[in-house]
Symmetry: D2
Subunit: 511 residues, 4 copies
């Protein structure tokens, strides 16, 4: 069985950006074509969401919680068919103990000046959500405490003791609202595996609730800066899978062993301005990760669905190395296509390899994902790759979707041909980024250029009829550089009436 961990969640920029039309259109498109089930973003409690408010009335300070924006965001998620994966953070200025911020949009990363007031905010927020959406619904939403507290950029001083205090206060506040809400942490960045032991020890000793654990995974090295961007090397893709597997390994033998693990962010580079995100290379690199990631974790969440994202400021160009599967203007990037290909795979895995994944649908159709293996190194991969597979068709093919026939009688026997439809994404096909280079990299393409880029972004489609021998079809797949390809194969039930003879059509006769 192919786990659906790969599409259980996707990331997004700060929650306020979900109010943007461009963001909502991107999420709706990805929901429809890929089927993401949840979405996770930062800044739910930051001031641009307007939740935590202090006012003075008749000489007294009063706290008010205002959920208008949060409701609009969550309403829109649910209307799109996607549930929120809640991340509690960052700190409202009025509740903060300091003024350190992260990102261009200035999320406050200091502890609360009062833990009881923070707990009030957590309880008030979750009670409101339960009130509005119903307890059965909200129990399906993971609630994560903060983001990457092991980094001083995200949590003042990367103070572990203070994070454990925050975690404890928060987890109890969540459970006060409802004991079955799911709470978890510690949302570590890569390179912080030394936090697992103290986290497990702390929550065990103090009997703090933990329903799941989570971490992030990236494989990029140090950033080499240029204006509006960076370059970075990558480790091999296997390294991502190792990061996925790490929490379970580190928690073995602790009270947290066996808890669900969410990779609540992952990507190649952790920078929102690394051009690798826009490339076919990124798709080829991630193909084996998507194929195998579900063997390790409950979910792994691509960071992010859309280039509507401002952690490094307002993007300077339509392609700017953003995390998004989709650009502003809704151009599908190669990695988007990889996800869309995954969404067409069958439930049953027939074969896995370093460059392919063969799956079968319940009705017998096959879907094969193949890719050129790449290793993250700076140098160019070979300019082609060859995958040869023999796959079974026809046994147990259900009869569906074919329409009229010449008689009532079903057709017996084995199919003689299979229909093969192949979709290709590489440096040329399904690649608006290279088309945009050919166009001279217009920063903000006008409507006409955008239309050309959208046309260039569609995967190439090839169809053919292939012979079935002994219930099998031979697939001989030549991949171009950095190609990710999807091949769909189904046994043909021939409905051709006996009187048709295409050679009688002008131009089709035998010469």
């Amino acid at each position: 069985m192919l786990s659906s961990a790969w599409r259980r969640c996707v990331g997004t920029g700060r929650m306020n950006l979900s109010l943007r039309r461009g963001h909502r259109e991107a999420l709706a498109l990805a929901r429809e074509e890929i089927g993401f089930e949840m979405i996770r973003g930062h800044g739910m409690l930051s001031d641009d969401m307007g939740v935590y408010r202090e006012v003075e009335w008749q000489g007294e300070r009063q706290v008010r919680h205002v959920f208008a924006y949060l409701d609009e965001v969550v309403d829109s998620y649910l209307a799109t068919g996607v549930r929120p994966f809640l991340e509690l953070g960052f700190m409202p200025e009025a509740l903060a103990s300091g003024d350190q911020t992260v990102f261009w949009w200035k999320g406050n990363v200091t502890p609360p000046r009062s833990y009881p007031e923070w707990q009030g905010l957590v309880r008030g927020t979750l009670r409101h959500l339960v009130d509005r959406y119903g307890i059965e619904e909200v129990r399906t939403w993971p609630v994560e405490v903060w983001n990457e507290p092991n980094l001083s950029d995200f949590w003042q001083g990367a103070d572990q003791a203070e994070y454990l205090r925050l975690y404890e206060a928060t987890a109890h506040a969540v459970k006060e609202v409802d004991a079955e809400l799911q709470v978890g942490g510690p949302v570590l960045s890569p390179g912080a595996d030394e936090w697992w032991a103290p986290f497990a020890e702390f929550v065990t000793r103090r009997e703090v609730p933990v329903d799941f654990v989570s971490r992030h995974a990236y494989t990029s090295g140090p950033a080499q800066h240029v204006p509006f961007g960076v370059y970075q090397d990558l480790r091999p893709p296997q390294h991502l899978l190792e990061q996925f597997a790490a929490p379970a390994q580190h928690l073995t033998g602790t009270a947290l062993a066996g808890l669900p693990v969410h990779i609540s962010e992952f990507n190649t580079s952790y920078r929102p301005d690394n051009p690798v995100h826009d490339t076919a290379y990124n798709a080829a690199y991630l193909a084996p990760v998507l194929a195998a990631g579900g063997e390790h974790v409950e979910s792994f969440s691509y960071w992010t669905v859309s280039d509507v994202f401002e952690e490094a400021g307002v993007p300077a160009s339509i392609f700017h190395g953003g995390f998004g599967l989709l650009t502003h203007g809704l151009i599908r990037k190669p990695t988007y296509h990889l996800y869309a290909f995954m969404a067409r795979l069958g439930e049953e895995v027939l074969a896995e390899g370093v460059d392919h994944l063969v799956t079968r649908h319940a009705d017998g159709r096959l879907a094969v994902l193949a890719w050129q293996p790449v290793d993250g190194s700076p140098v160019t991969a070979a300019d082609r790759h060859h995958v040869r597979l023999s796959v079974p068709v026809g046994a147990g093919v259900r009869r569906t979707g074919t329409g009229a026939g010449s008689s009532e009688a079903p057709q017996p026997g084995q199919p003689r041909t299979a229909f093969v439809l192949r979709r290709r994404v590489n440096e040329s096909d399904g690649n608006a980024w290279t088309a945009w280079q050919d166009l001279g990299r217009p920063a903000s393409p006008g409507a006409r250029h955008l239309d050309l880029l959208l046309d260039a972004s569609r995967p190439a489609v090839e169809h053919s009829s292939v012979a079935v021998h002994g219930g099998r079809v031979e697939l001989d797949l030549h991949l171009a550089q950095h190609e990710v390809t999807l091949v769909e194969v189904e046994a043909v039930r021939d409905s051709t009436p006996p009187w048709l003879d295409d050679t009688r059509i002008p131009g089709y006769g035998r010469p």
Copy 2:
């Protein structure tokens, strides 16, 4: 200048079918992507439109005109941005002098039993249209009297004298409503050029109004029947252009010389069940006709926009050789793509040839249509074709649609590269008909198969950057069998910032 005669009008089945959702969606799609300006169909006055009604009240027969369906149809045309090209016919049963009918849907093709009552119907209908849509609007709609009266299938006995009588009565009735309404005929089928002289003589002698003349053009030979279909040979495409030119030739020296000529129907085969209509061959065959037809006539109207059409009964399969540019389910056929390619051409013609048409837009962009020439004969054309063109770019290129730049200063000088985007339709690309063959020709594909066919129906898209030398670009176009191709070329304004170096992206470095 490239005349827009090629898209001034398109045909449709009987007007009642315009009430169908499938028809409206097809028209809307074609309007948006091709830009047809008018639409013409049969049966406006046939009983399934319910216009002419006789009732009895207090012992007296009364005539009522009911315009509910006609209004719904015309409203929908106008809402789509398309105007009606009115064809007055066929005969309401209650007004008919006989019971001969044409088509599966039984249009009555006999003269009126009373010319005054027919005139009343014509006046009533046009007055209603003027009342509802305004006189300025209705004056732009050609009003054609009957359809192919030279064929006994369409006009009882192919009685010329009776048709002239009908024409006279009708033309006067039209002008009684408003002298500036445009009326015309005689709507001849191919092979009836002997009607021109008597028509011209008659209307001249009796001072009957004629604002335009019209005829039809097809190039298919005798039908060889099989169940649900026919095969036919075709004459060469030049023969269509000769038919376009014929009215002007035949009317030279008559009082009708110089009148606008409308080809109010044309296609390869005149049968709604000839598979040639579904092929890439049909597109390649018609490419030179669309390129040159406007040199002869005011309009030439492809018969028809959609396979929602029932002259030979309910279609037996999604692909059934129908006239439509679009199938049921809105699959674009190759000839649809030819039209969509035409719609992307520029206004200025730089070069014409037997296999190409080079055009330029006002902003300097080029659009080149190329095709494999075919001659209509049964035998297969060569499996490839080569077109080599040298085209000018860059001089006079307007700066549009490029977005941000690094400075205020415009870039001087000649472009060094051009962006080339090519779209291809042939036996494999942009060809759902051959994909459907590969699928085993399902008569009524289910949703999943329909989606595959829609994917297979998209033209292949290729992009590249080519060098500009001496203000020109060399295009070396290899066409596959029966290919029609569109090449768009524009000078590039390079916006690449100096700090970008793609070789620093993982996988793109020099090995």
Copy 3:
């Protein structure tokens, strides 16, 4: 509990009309606002659906089943969220034993010339549907054999023996496809209760499958004809409920006792051109029928959803006494509003009366339907009616949908006020028919007039805050002539902050 029999099914004209855009829009609107679950129409096998086809090939006759139109119709139903209630009929011309037809659109009502070929058609059709939509889905679709065979208009000679033969052959053919498909009959018109006994006797004796029984119900008297229309008197509404109850009574003691009963058509008048269908009177008349009908039967299906209907020919005017809940152009008639009001009722019935139905939703909200009782007689009802009700609110009110609050603490105690929103339909409010009369009855209103009529068709909406005393609210409802009214009542949770004082707004201060 309020049964949902009232919305389990709705009728439509012949199935071919479901291809019309106007029909589909009507069905989609009714589905969204009313929630009909199934749709039933005539003519599934009539020639304009093109299913049964005979061709000759190599000297032999062959039968082909063509499902293109049927698939398009069923696809559209399912896409709208509505399932088909299949009626097998009428007879394809090529399979008919005679040429008697019914309706303007000429459905053939003669027995098959060959029962084996008819069975082949039935099996072929159901096998195709199972193939396309899956067996689980198709098992939920009732399959009815023919329509009103007790009337000689619908079944040649109203020949009971022949119908029983048809039923037997058909039921067996259905079950050959799948034993769990549901088949039933005898689809009687009103006034044919003498058929129940022989039907029950026949199917019992010969062991013919019957999964449900069905009949129709109308209360109109003889037609008094005028051009394009009729007038008829009506029996009281109770008479409809008696017709609903009749099958169970007549089958008591037979082997068919206890089978599900479907009223597969009902309305006031059985004529598609009786103006009563357009009136508020029709809504007031049917209100008690919708309120109580579910006590008698599994479903009762309003005939029909839309005025896109042609049994008496093309309608002569936008309002023409058609069966539709919606006109051409999608104007909601008063009876449509009655249905939409029903759709807002709660699941629990608190009180029923001759002029009201009080219901409660699971969350404690009340929904009250009230109407002026009318009896079907020609004379005018009183010009007003008064309904006074005391209803409980507040106990067990769930907290939902209210948004932000000033604190975490839930509000304790009883509500002090209730929010009341009332919607009214009568001779003036929510009544485009009387507005159309005021406009001079334009037969085919232009866009501007249609917009005015759409505005006039909206129910009046009134809101108020009423005091809660002892957990109850007093409703004092004054109804205008022929009014149907919906009153929604919910306990208020007051979120007004203490600092608000509306009298400080200009114009709202106390004078």
Copy 4:
């Protein structure tokens, strides 16, 4: 003639908020139903639009202009059919001379640290817009220099000399791009008429281009603060018209006399948190202003179209006294209805009064706006108002939009009846604000409550048929408290066939 100054422009919050989905939906709705032609907002050059960027490359500082967000905003305006009214401001941080900011969202209000760099930004921005949208288009967009420089909140120190310097530098920069671009100022707030003389003197003396002048108009007094809101008294509505007229008066005799005057903001209160904006009172108050404002100025722009607005922070409740014609969630406020009523008026003014405006369309239809006059004082107005009018109908009535008739002959003579359709907005009808009060003021209503509020927000609609005597109709309009009403009157062309007799319908007979 009724000038269209009232809908020539509408205001919006900072331009960045135009990226929000809620904003775009509001603008699209208002465009469709009201027809605003232009839109003006603050903050085009503020940092959240990301236009002005400084980077370092190879040791040198470089300026880049990034137009991605600006393009997205302007694209969306134009796609909606609305043009931008450009306001140049506020200052990018990197270009600012100080750090004073205005609003919750912190627009920098200090002069540029370098006027040449500011001019570069102005030129770069306008050149880009011309490049993208074409010079003909951009010449239609007014370009305003800064906002309310006479207030120290908006321009550091309210420094007049510095503003004149800014104006001069900016106007020249604009004209360097194209001499026909329209530039203007000084965008004064109310109470700053002493600026007109020095502005006129300065630009005349130094030959600075001025194509139009602009100011703002509000009538509210000092703010009385409560949490999340204020209360204020209002001056009478006539005071707004006096403010409209002031620029022309003050510029009489100067070189600027006769220039177009734009009121680029107006409303009752200048606060985004005054509940008066949500009331029917606001509509009644503004009715005479909208009726007469076009006599004084080229445009007067309601501030603002939507409650998507954050100058005072994130709104704390769905109704919060925001400027918007539409709330979050797209509830139409009473003042929105006033605008929508204005949009239904005819071009010709037949009569004006203190409580009414009678207009006629080109086709003879009348549209009458009536309102209860109010004066802005705190005390409550009378609870009703009576307007009696005699209006002409029928002469010169064009025949349009009526559809079928019984014969060809047009109907002669005078109409005997008129169709009257009245729409009402007052404290109960068309008033979601009072419904929301009845509901207990939920801060963030859930989907079900929002639907109720949307239903409650529709104006009441009443239709009737009234007799025409002597070519006139008597209108006797009883208005409820704070009512604004629209009455549409048109002569009826009666199409009733002779055989219809409604008393033959059950329930409609004479008793």
